[in-house]
Amino acid sequence: MIASVPALGRRLAPHALPLAMLVIIIAFAVSEPAFLKPDNLIGIVRQVAITGIMAVGMTFVIMTGGIDLSVGPVLALSGVIALFSLDAGVPLPLSIVAGLSVGLVVGLLNGFIVARLELPPIIVTLAMLSMVRGSALLIGGPDLHPIRGHEAYAAIGSGDFLGLPISVHLFAAVTVLMVLVQKLTPLGLLVAAIGENERAARLSGHRTRLTKMALYAICGVGAAIAGIVQSSQVHTASAVYGEFGTELDVIASVVLGGTSLMGGNGSIARTILGVMFLGIINNGMNILNVPIDIQLIAKGVIIAVSLALSEWRA
């Protein structure tokens, strides 16, 4: 009989996150019925869209046993570059491409150094974090740059389409695309294979280094998309956006979704669960008027407890 408690625990552990979410949703809904209003629920998705897009891009990188700490400054720089391009009279699509190419270039650089030169990702991307932040400040200075007269650009972050914010559509599109990539294409399998055993993947004829480069590039582009959504949402671009803590939220979402920092199995779909989990905690505490300092502490505790729960599986 004594054995049945851990046995039950072991059976429930993989579902710890959905269960915890359910408990929290019920708790919030009971203490503040407004929490369950459709507007609020859509609001939550809108709030998490930026972190969410980055987390989706980061999942593959973490699955290969890597990490990307440089997403915060990439977000800032891509917004600044997109806005400066617009101000310089570059057409909207090209300005967006300019913003996205920031992520692409930084990601490819990260990937090249990690995969080709075989340096530890945590150091490489930490250095990149500093360099990209520096470049952003060099180009954009410490000021906020308001977005004026670019309605089409502003609509990306604040417009609606079919009753839903465009940023939510974007988040959904990125997610669906990457879920399909993971489930249906060889790349999804290859990512898992590299995370499990990179040597064996290479000996199976796969171009593991090129693949890793591509994954960092995807992660960088994700951060750049987030930067464009963010700047258009708040109608300003700034070199100081994506401040310290941004990357932690992103990484926490991925890991809460069950992807191990050691690499190996992971799932984009479950990353979304992690993203929503953090989003719900933030939103619920806002609705309940929990002071920000307490919010941060509570969030930390909840992340730690959920992670401990999912590690308990082993």
Partner: protein, 502 residues
């Protein structure tokens, strides 16, 4: 009568619908070397893991020197003097030899720091006592497989184990190393240690064991003194009559030295500094060429260069007449070369991925439709390979980690057969594979050969070499010293040549 050192009664272990072990009784006396044999997946490792505490049985009890012990608790078992050498290394690869040997029990000096001097001295003393020579300061991960095995044995010896469980300890050991290990075992036996020895190499069982336990389908089906049983009978008990006949027949199939005469792979003066030198040979379509030699004679290194995993410094290669210079395994595969590496855990399998994913891993383009994986093609491929290789259990979604050692090896071979390679290189393809499955793998290799593939097998197992080879090449210390038609060289001559007595 003395009490057994360790005794298990009614041991069982169930995994979901699969019974890995059922109602097994098992005991070992002090100073007894008990062989444990049975086909892949028979439950040998499961039994051993129960005795080490790594696996908790679903039924049964274990007593050590007559006292019942708490099950499923590895530290308790270690405390009571049960040590184990597993099929695969359990060492910390980034740590030094001496740290591994005394892991967690390193001598402590002033200020609670590890006393490196004493640690090194202790390690050296232990090695001297058992006639081993490894640099205590070397990093374990950098050592060749054979040395890693010695470190593991040393680690068990350092624990002053009274019960030593060995799960296929000789997987990658050369004949000389096996002999040395057996000597160590005899010394331990004389001092009253109880030893359990699992191996698929029946020669070893007959050479070192006093008694033997046979397992089949999770059950103990026979127990007897080693003198009371003959080899053929043992094989029959293990795998059943039909497979036993097949495996006996496998030894007597006509050889085809030179194959069809068409040169598939020509290697000329291939060299890699400090590793191997001036290697030249031809591999023909329709033949099996076995490359044998001592462990450390750089055969694996040569194969890696041929497969494009490492680069050579000099020399040239042609595949079907075309000069090639592979810069990656992918390039070699594009030219029709497949490579089954020797260490299935380190280089071969993605243990956390399903058997299906592993089976298609090297042939993903074949199971794709445009840019998408074609689920039905994937499933069909997996099903076909599982049937061809008789992988047990045929559960295609089970992670590779959960298969028994021999079945993992079959997954690894299967993954390359799917490529339908023109040249198939296999490095120690039957390590850990039971007699029945060995015969099956040889059958598959011969079928590939007869279909026109050129097959290159690296093997240290002379039994295997003389069974399967059409021609035999011998490597000594990075030089190729001779190539013979398999029928033209006898075993003693071969052993001399391998030993470098040219």
């Amino acid at each position: 009568m003395t009490t057994p050192l360790i005794r298990g009664r009614g041991l069982g272990r169930i995994y979901g619908a699969l019974t890995a072990l059922a109602d097994a009784d098992f005991e070992v006396m002090p100073g007894e070397v008990r062989g444990l044999v049975g086909s892949n997946g028979a439950g040998k490792s499961t039994l051993v893991k129960i005795l080490t505490g790594a696996v908790e049985p679903t039924s049964g009890t274990v007593e050590i020197m007559g006292e019942p012990v708490k099950l499923g608790d590895p530290s308790e078992m270690i405390r009571r003097g049960v040590a184990c050498i597993y099929q695969h290394s359990n060492l910390a690869p980034a740590m030094s030899v001496m740290d591994n040997v005394f892991l967690g029990r390193q001598p402590v000096g002033r200020f609670g720091r590890i006393d490196k001097k004493k640690l090194e001295a202790d390690t050296r003393a232990l090695m001297a006592k058992h006639g081993m020579a490894i640099d205590p300061l070397a990093t374990v991960g950098n050592l060749p497989t054979v040395k890693q095995k010695e470190v593991e044995i040393l680690k068990a010896l350092a624990l002053e184990a009274r019960v030593l469980l060995m799960d296929e300890p000789t997987g990658w050991l050369s004949a000389a190393d096996v002999a040395r290990l057996h000597q160590t075992i005899r010394t331990l036996r004389a001092s009253g240690v109880a030893i359990v020895y699992i191996s698929h190499m029946l020669d070893e069982i007959f050479s070192v064991c006093d008694t033997v336990t046979v397992m089949r389908d999770g059950r103990v089906i026979a127990e007897c003194g080693i003198a009371e049983v003959r080899r053929a009978r043992l094989v029959e008990l293990m795998v059943g009559e039909k497979l036993a006949r097949d495996s006996a027949a496998a030894a007597s199939v006509a050889r085809r030295p030179g194959g069809t005469g068409e040169i598939r792979l020509a290697v000329r003066d291939l060299s890699k500094k400090g590793v191997f030198r001036d290697i030249s040979f031809d591999l023909h379509a329709g033949e099996i060429l076995c490359l044998t030699g001592l462990i450390g004679s750089k055969r694996t290194e040569l194969m890696r260069v041929i497969f494009g995993a490492d680069r050579a410094d000099g020399g040239s290669m042609t595949v079907a007449g075309q000069t090639v210079d592979f810069h990656s395994p992918g390039a070699a595969m594009a030219a029709g070369i497949g490579f089954v590496p020797e260490d299935r855990h380190r280089d071969g399998l993605m243990l956390g991925l399903s058997m299906t994913d592993n089976l298609i891993m090297s042939t993903i383009p074949q199971v794709c439709r445009s840019i998408f994986l074609d689920r039905s093609r994937v499933a069909a491929t997996a099903k076909r390979l599982v049937a061809d290789l008789a992988i047990q259990p045929p559960d295609v979604n089970k992670p590779a980690r959960l298969f028994s050692g021999g079945n993992q090896q079959k997954i690894l071979v299967g993954k390359w057969l799917n490529l339908g390679p023109k040249i198939l290189i296999l490095d120690e393809p039957t390590v850990g594979v039971d007699v029945g499955a060995k015969a099956e793998i040889y059958g598959i290799l011969r079928a590939q050969r007869d279909a026109g593939a050129a097959i290159l097998v690296v093997s240290s197992d002379l039994e295997e070499v003389t069974t399967v080879a059409d021609r035999i090449a011998v490597m000594v210390s990075g030089r190729m010293v001779g190539i013979h038609d398999a029928d033209a060289i006898d075993r003693s001559r071969l052993i001399e040549e391998i030993g470098g007595v040219a």
